[in-house]
Symmetry: C2
Amino acid sequence: MEAVRSCSEVYLETYTSLLTNTPISTLESFYGKTIIEADRETVESNAERILANAASSNVAFLVVGDPYGATTHTDLEIRARELKIEVVKIHNASIMNAIGAAGLQLYKYGETVSIVFFTETWRPDSFYDKILANRRSGLHTLCLLDIKTKEPTLESLARGKPVYEPPRFMTVNQAVEQLLEVEGRRGEGAYGEETMCVGVARVGSRGQRIVAGAMGRLREVEFGGPLHSLVIAGEMHELEEKMLRTYFDVDVVGKAVEEEEEEEGG
Amino acid sequence: MEAVRSCSEVYLETYTSLLTNTPISTLESFYGKTIIEADRETVESNAERILANAASSNVAFLVVGDPYGATTHTDLEIRARELKIEVVKIHNASIMNAIGAAGLQLYKYGETVSIVFFTETWRPDSFYDKILANRRSGLHTLCLLDIKTKEPTLESLARGKPVYEPPRFMTVNQAVEQLLEVEGRRGEGAYGEETMCVGVARVGSRGQRIVAGAMGRLREVEFGGPLHSLVIAGEMHELEEKMLRTYFDVDVVGKAVEEEEEEEGG
């Protein structure tokens, strides 16, 4: 809070994650600062703009999660250091450790995978080999689910003047559909309908929802609004199984979830 | 802050991690609460004491890092939920994600390993197979280094009245010694003197120190006070190599480190 309040400019990165239940205006009044939203284009192609005043005054670059959660953040740090600008990082919880809430021990996770929205012609399955390797080693897999914010439509790109599609956030249900489609195609038994999984939504917020169950079963579970993530379990210790049983098709925070969903009209 | 201030009892878990640069008295005046230190015995054998008043009033259990960083914390949650006590978790940065500061991308880490202090007769090397598997898959390995707080001496145990050894925290240097000893014994080429590593100390504090270099080289680097961790790199992308080059035997925060070390007389 003190760090942000000391800044002349405050950016908020808005394309790798999403603030749950906190409008930007709330942040602005908390910090007493105008917040400039930084989309992918700003961060990747116009980093000079963010760094322009950082040599002579404090500039904040806020992210949802930890500052090292996304490659582009690291890239921004390297650019800053090349310009001899001092970079101070303030760490924070991120899905990479808050996923501990799913009930499986963090040190037993293998490589993290990303699952992107399939299109008619582009159905990449590079996650499959990674999940297979993790499962063969008895390790859990965190699946980060795709986020599309401010994507230009193909038609608008062809016309040379970008028009943006509405933001999309992959649900646990969609992820499971894609995972099972790829298992059907590859057939190497990395996982299947019966594989134990944990779906999580809005982790760390009051309205979080965590449901454990067979992968096929999670296809039908309603998790509510974004962001969602999915864990594919590996071998489990007794304590982990015990924790997962408490998440079999129940809400973690019980009543609070329903209240919050009603407020949001969801 | 508000959550802790609402509590009738506040515990601080003191055996899986260490508060860097913050005496408990500082926390006590910040929260306006007396803080009860909870060692391993209290948490593992006397959890009832912590949970005794939690049904009728708010009780805080503070940990350094994220609430799901240690198995015993999960166990405490399960006990509480068995007693129908509502458990609210507030996530935080932990070494499991703050290790992103080492410059290697979090999603490319494999299974995390723990390295315990070798004794004359007990030199466990179960970490070796895990590092080997990670390295074969091109993945980075986070090595969590042993912490011994309030360990009874063997002699005192024999006498039935525990006398405790002074706390010990494994350094990067000690970890490297043990790792190379095990490679010498096993000889399967999981890593060696020339393997790229990153040693980190006091991550997230103003006096943090991060040094990248060949494993053998890190044996000689002075990292200062606890806590230390070590990363053994897997395959690296260009961006990761670029980040690591900025950590070749230099302090991240430059001058701030020296100042802090002087203050501490270290």
